[in-house]
């Protein structure tokens, strides 16, 4: 059930009886600029740790303990150009507790408090909280460099996207812009978020839909027009090939490759693209896994993943520096083999079985219900599990080869260990 509680603010209740918990997520969505990406990331951190009623982290945590250890958090994500600042709450269903409380109602009130009543004074967030969260977020981003797999992925992202494109920075922002944010500006910006962002709210669980609607209707949202916040099939961008090698004192080298990938969402090409990726490098039965890892023993991980909304496929492998050329050759060979249709019918059947099994299995994860529905709502089309499975079944060898031929190497980032100095 989906209803507009205000213009631009929608509430979707998804009743599912198999779970012992109820999950509520509130998504603030906006085509945010690079700078505003950092603003939103910092907002997520500040709003997670305090409110007018709960002025310290302890009080927030204790309120959650009162709700039987409910899980509360804020996250930031991005799909294409849309930045998603999410508040989420997961709380046990009263049905399984010796309790006379109405936990769902209390949970909804808790979320309202966290979203609408930030700890603030004179149009600024609580100064100490602001400073601490700003410093912590910058420290977190700097520390990400210590995780070489993430570091390499971020460097590849920078190599692929031009500096003026929002995708060149991660959804959690960049340290430099974060350091420049002023408390007052951030507070002002949050007022804009509350008043103008497209909002999608999802409630999943064994709940009474009317109760949910009545209670969330009490939230002080105002009408807004947010028509431009939606996912589209973006046009293919002309990009020149980029390559970069960096040397660091690491034991294992990281080889990350980016490919242009056909972007059409939910047409024939789309399903063929899903099967292509699983066959190429997206599963342990894939060509990359078999040939780079199992046959050549050159890597522990070698896989591919697709970001359909940005028309991008990424391949990641952890290898020895001296094996780089050999690994590149094997990866390139797998792609030409895919283009030539060099895979067996049996492999194709297996890969499809695996994809379908994963899809059906994902319905046992409560969080999937909201995230799938959000994608549907942003694309503006619905698809049932039956349709999805049917479309995957229909994918032909020819359509996979057609996708493979549109896949084009665009960037190679290599984190080399060659200057290694032994301590």
């Amino acid at each position: 059930m989906r209803i507009q509680i205000k213009q631009g603010v929608a509430l979707t209740v998804i009743p599912v009886s198999q779970f012992k918990n109820t999950q509520i997520s509130v998504h603030f969505l906006e085509n945010a600029s690079k700078l505003k990406t950092s603003y939103r990331s910092l907002l997520a951190n500040i709003l997670e740790t305090s409110s007018k009623k709960y002025v310290t982290q302890i009080l927030v945590s204790r309120a959650l303990s009162q709700l039987y250890g409910a899980g509360f958090g804020t996250t930031v994500m991005r799909k294409q150009n849309i930045h998603d600042l999410t508040f989420s709450l997961s709380l046990p269903n009263d049905h399984y507790l010796d309790s006379s409380e109405d936990l769902l109602s209390e949970g909804i009130q808790f979320l309202q408090e966290m979203i609408f009543n930030p700890l603030a004074k004179d149009d600024c967030f609580h100064e100490q909280t602001f400073q601490r969260q700003q410093a912590n977020l910058i420290a977190y981003i700097n520390a990400l460099q210590d995780d070489k797999q993430s570091y390499a992925a971020l460097q590849l992202q920078k190599l692929v996207f031009n500096e003026d494109e929002v995708q060149s920075v991660p959804a959690f922002g960049d340290a430099k812009s974060l350091a420049e944010i002023k408390n007052h500006d951030l507070f002002d910006y949050y007022q804009l978020v509350l008043a103008h962002d497209r909002v999608e709210i999802y409630v999943v669980g064994d709940v009474n839909a009317n109760q949910v609607v009545n209670e969330i209707n009490q939230w002080p949202f105002v009408d807004r027009s947010a028509n431009s916040v939606e996912l589209t099939n973006s046009e293919k961008k002309e990009r020149s090939f980029q390559a970069r090698t960096e040397n660091q004192d690491v034991v294992q080298a990281k080889l990350d490759l980016a490919y242009q990938f056909p972007t059409d969402f939910r047409n024939d090409n789309y399903y063929a693209g899903i099967v292509f990726n699983a066959l190429f490098g997206g599963s342990p039965l894939s060509k990359l896994f078999i040939n780079v890892r199992e046959r050549a023993s050159l890597a522990y991980y070698a896989n591919s993943s697709v970001d359909i909304f940005n028309g991008l496929m990424v391949v990641q492998a952890g290898i020895n520096s001296q094996d780089k050329e050999q690994v590149l050759t094997i990866i390139a060979k797998q792609l030409t083999d895919m283009q030539a249709g060099d895979f067996t019918d049996e492999q194709l059947v297996q890969i499809k079985k695996g994809l379908i099994s994963n899809y059906v299995s994902s319905l046992d994860l409560e969080r999937v219900y909201a995230s799938r529905e959000l994608t549907n709502d942003l694309v503006g089309s619905q698809i049932s599990a039956e349709e999805w499975i049917d479309q995957i079944q229909k994918v032909s060898r020819e359509s996979i080869m057609k996708v493979a031929k549109q896949v084009e190497l665009q960037a190679v980032y290599f984190l080399s260990s060659e200057v290694k100095t032994h301590a």
Binding site: A143, D147, Y301, I356, S357
Partner: protein, 434 residues
Amino acid sequence: MHKQTYKQFGESLYTETLDNGLTVNILPKQGFRKTYAIFTTNFGSIDRTFIPQGKQTHVTQPGGIAHFLEHKMFDKKGYDAFDLFGKYGADSNAFTSFTRTSYLFSATQNIKENLDILLNFVQEPYFTKQSVEKEKGIIGQEIQMYDDDPDWKLYMGILNNLYPKHPVHIDIAGTVSSIAKITADDLYLAHKTFYHPANMDLFIVGNVDPNKTLEWVIQNQNEKAFPKFELPKVQLPPEDPNGKDIIKRQVAKMAVNRPKSIIGLKGLDQVPDGRAGLAYKLKVNLLLYLLFGDSSQEYLNLYDSGVVDDTFSYEFDLARSFHYVSFSSDTDHPDQFNEQIEKILANAQQILPKLKAQFELAKKEMMGRLLSRMDSIESIANGYEGQLFDQATIFDQEMIYEKLTLADLEQVAASLFKPESLSTFEIMPMEVKS
């Protein structure tokens, strides 16, 4: 088959011990589409020195043998178990810990076929010299990946300090040089010693009929002959009961941006056997939550004074033959971090009596967390520790929590928190090379 119903949670667990000694647990999950099965042996990375089945004297195998064996089990004569699962639409995986090795699959169809594949590939070893050599390249890369992971280095660093003799200080995967020594014969020997059904358990959760499923398992097992078996005799080196062998502090340098610190507290007290051991574990978890959880005043003080940040975490690990607590954080003030944690531990007996209200709240929190884990079939099955806690499952924890008192926590704090059992390991950034 024994059926135990947990009315409050609307769940029933079916348990059976087969003639060959295998323990089988089956939990049908209403409304779920997936089935998850995990087949575990009580054999992990610490089990290097043991008396092989039918022999009299100890052997010591190379570090990383249990994990290597886990990798090699999938490789069969003429086929790969992984691919075979794929044919039947199942995802499969495996993992090795300090004390256990587990093999698993999840699937939405062909459950009987997939169960057969699981039981067969784990119970029918097949190793060749050539395939063992080839695996060394893959596992070598896995080890090197961890070599670059500062959090893993920090964790292994504190284990090395706390357990300089006990093999828990050896990386689960071993080292590039230790795995170089592994032979097919070593793998056969380990398999023969530890992979007997009497030393294993099978946990199945999801969209299953318990009676039919048990029948499938029995049918599979009846087709196989297992030799007479004695539970494995693993030898561990003696440790100082007062912790005198603990290395108090070590510092390593790595290419990190911020210093990282971890404090370890080695359990020198005796953990009771069976369910009482589980109660001990839950007590320590509650105790640590009250003193260091994100709703504790002590944590807030650490956080607000800038000694720790959001990277702070604590962990209690209890397994066969060892237990320890660790506290870790990125911190620019490792000395203060040490001092503050030590102080809180030393003052626990003064702090705890003031936390009556918090204690009740914490129990509520733990109840909610149990319910949250019950929505994950993987979590239900993976949380099962077999004989360590006398076959207890997540559904038994609620009863234990309910009975706990603040006095229980004071008691456990008194036996666990000893200043002589503390140690620190730090990772400092390398000097910047220009």
